[in-house]
């Protein structure tokens, strides 16, 4: 797999058009790594000039900030900004809505101003420009529902790019009773991913999975590695993993192109 790093391109005196910010989940989590690879295949196939930071990348600081550790967040942010500014990065694309939100909204105040797009927005652009063609009909007529990640949807008002990509797959997009600005959280945000939930009568991801299963989809599309984990766990809990798949939008597109 061709994954150029900023360091190697810099050594050759080259500057990529866009930095692919992989994020911690995309780098280390087994499920999320598949999303990362699917996205890289799409980038390579579309001939996009990109690079990753590789071992120079570090946590964006989102979970620290949402947990209340502003100090650690700003340490992370300023270290990352120093590296990104050092490479003269102008545009960033990421498959993680948490990194997306933090770098887009919270880095500028600390000296890091970039054009930041989520991978669904970036892929939508590539499709619109004809650099990705979605033919073949792998998903033709399939019932797909889309789960809005809070940090992409409500937090940044990105609701349409992922939906339009699903429609471009000729799939039947079905909406859950809570969607778009009223979408229900998967339960992972605000650093909840890293701790047990407080006492209650249900897990949030089970509630959300029930909402998804209610409308009988064949695929639950996600656009966030953490949502993906939570929904996958939910589907397993409901013993539906044989009939319902949880997939990232990038994976859907990569498979539609036989990549």
């Amino acid at each position: 797999m061709n994954v150029p790093t900023m360091a190697s391109l810099f050594a050759e005196g080259k500057q990529p058009e866009v930095l692919f910010w992989v994020g911690c989940a995309g780098s280390f989590d087994d499920r999320a790594k598949k999303i990362t690879k699917a996205f890289v295949k799409l980038l390579n196939n579309a001939g996009v000039s990109f690079a990753v930071l590789g071992t120079e990348e570090s946590c964006s600081g989102d979970p620290a900030k949402r947990a209340g550790n502003e100090f650690l967040f700003q340490m992370q942010a300023m270290t990352n900004i120093e590296i990104m500014n050092g490479y003269g990065i102008k545009k960033v694309v990421t498959a993680c809505p948490h990194c997306f939100n933090t770098i887009k909204n919270e880095y500028p105040g600390l000296g890091g101003t970039y054009e930041v797009v989520h991978h669904t927005q970036f892929l939508k652009e590539l499709v619109d420009e004809g650099k990705i063609s979605l033919e073949g009909g792998t998903y033709k007529g399939k019932r797909i529902t889309y789960h809005d990640p809070c940090y992409l949807g409500r937090a940044n008002n990105v609701y349409e790019a992922p939906r339009e990509l699903i429609k471009k797959l000729d799939a039947e997009l079905v909406e859950m009773k809570n969607c778009k600005s009223r979408g229900l959280c998967c339960g992972a945000g605000g650093a909840q991913m890293f701790k047990e939930a407080e006492k209650g009568d249900k897990e949030v991801n089970i509630e959300r999975t029930e909402q998804a299963l209610e409308i009988k989809p064949e695929i639950i599309a996600a656009a966030c590695p953490f949502c993906n984990t939570m929904m996958t766990d939910g589907v397993k809990n409901k013993e539906k993993e044989a009939s319902v798949a949880v997939m990232d939008i990038a994976e859907l597109l990569a498979r539609a192109q036989d990549l």
Binding site: C59, F71, C150, L184
Partner: protein, 442 residues
């Protein structure tokens, strides 16, 4: 003696408005106990938000049933206030229906007030049924027990009484107009109260006048009472919704502000030329407290939020933590903030304008840690609020206090933060392995 009613009315008016003004002053003082925040930007956008969200009720109608009912009561409230203007002038000058010379315009106005009054009664009955008979989930949550519940019902009762008095007054007036009683000139059109008028058939003019006068006085007296009830009630939103939507957050909901006090320290830490052994300047101010443990640590807009909250519970009903049985309720965060702020305000009143430490704070005495840690920061509460209240910002400020002042994060979060500090990821993976995925087969 001739001017006695005018004098009584003037006294009523002065006391009614004076007492309210006194409480508004207190309200303002309490809100300004909060920390400064710059909200002087984007004035045109802010006015626009106020026009759209408060005046235009755009977020109310997201829920069509309660939204529509609310619009009726809201429009009724605003329009019927034109009638209150006439009542005040009449009361002061001793005139009767001073706007009557407007002729057909007057007829139209009175007719629309009557129809609105009737619709308000219908809407209020529906509201009462939703709270007390249907018992909608968001109205019977734990934080709604006691005063919040009776406060909500009192507001509904007062509204029905005021509208009932208004219609009774008109019905009696209409009867007197037909009887040709002195001073009761032919004016107005009474599409609703004409159905009450037959009740007065057979009564003498003087009895009907007594009814008309009683209803008139009770109506305006009731309005002054209601005005002053506001400060002690969740109903303050009818006024504060306007400034609150004006000062509402304009940034993307996901953007949490960066603490400047932290930025300065981090910059110093990362500056290779900074002297690590430098002692702080002698006149240096003590460092800011990180985050919030009490109301004075919050920003004044957050305190305005607390007074604006009318406890509708749309935030709580959309909250994923609350939906799954956790203790967190964003509405309770706002109610607690207001209750504590009121307590601090009373403390200041009792101690001649100075707050005396009372051994209590917002954290633990009002809002528990369990509530704070149950939040997923999903912004559903912020999105749901029809008047731009931001409960999430208070939760986050209090988390900052817990973590940075008290090192009191849950153990698992401490482990996560330790990992970020040591190896740049929330899990214990080596940063040098960050690109390993590229070498693995897909």
């Amino acid at each position: 003696m001739e001017y006695l009613p005018n004098i009584i009315f003037a006294i009523l008016l002065i006391f009614g408005i004076g007492f309210f003004a006194k409480n508004v002053k207190k309200l303002r003082r309490n809100i300004l106990l909060g920390k400064e925040t710059d909200v002087s930007d984007n004035t045109s956008k802010r006015w626009g938000n106020m026009a759209k969200i408060a005046l235009g009720q755009t977020k109310m109608v997201v829920r069509p049933v309660s939204g529509l009912m609310h619009v009726i009561v809201y429009v009724g409230f605003i329009i019927i206030n034109i009638e209150v203007l006439e009542i005040i002038i009449d009361g002061l000058l001793g005139t009767h229906r001073i706007f009557a010379p407007l002729g057909s315009v007057y007829d139209f106005l009175i007719a629309s007030f009557e129809i609105l009054a009737f619709l308000v009664i219908v809407a209020v009955v529906v509201f009462w049924l939703r709270r007390n008979v249907l018992k909608l989930a968001r109205f019977i949550k734990p934080e709604m027990k006691g005063w919040p519940k009776s406060d909500a019902n009192w507001i509904l009762y007062i509204e029905v009484i005021l509208m009932g008095l208004f219609l009774t007054m008109n019905a009696a007036d209409y009867q007197l107009q037909q009887l040709g009683a002195a001073d009761y000139i032919q004016a107005g059109s009474f599409p609703v109260s004409q159905f009450i008028t037959p009740l007065f058939d057979g009564m003498t003019a003087s009895s009907v006048i007594l009814i008309e006068r009683t209803a008139w006085w009770l109506h305006i007296g009731g309005i002054f009472f209601f005005l002053n009830y506001l400060y002690y009630s969740k109903h303050l939103h009818i006024l504060l919704a306007f400034p609150n939507t004006y000062y509402g957050n304009l940034k993307p909901k996901g953007e949490f502000s960066n603490l400047e006090s932290v930025t300065n320290e981090v910059k110093l830490m990362m500056d290779p030329s900074a002297d690590p052994f430098a002692a702080p300047a002698e006149d240096a101010a003590p460092p800011d407290k990180f985050g919030a443990s009490d109301v004075q640590d919050l920003k004044w807009v957050q305190l305005l939020n607390a007074y604006t909250c009318t406890e509708c519970g749309r935030c709580t009903s959309e909250c994923p933590a609350n939906q799954t049985g956790k203790k967190l309720s964003p509405r309770k965060i706002m109610m607690d903030t207001r209750d504590r702020l009121e307590e601090v305000g009373r403390n200041i009143d009792q101690n001649r304008g100075k707050f005396v430490e009372d051994g209590k704070q917002l954290l633990d005495d009002y809002i528990s840690r369990e509530e704070l840690w149950a939040c997923t920061s999903c912004n559903a509460c912020v999105e749901a609020c029809p008047v731009s209240i931001d409960p999430l910002s208070i939760i986050m400020d209090m988390r900052q206090y817990l973590v940075m002042e008290q090192s009191a994060a849950p153990a698992e979060l401490n482990a996560m933060m330790g990992n970020i500090e040591n190896n740049g990821a929330p899990w214990p993976f080596n940063q040098m392995d960050r690109l390993n995925w590229a070498k693995e087969s897909s």
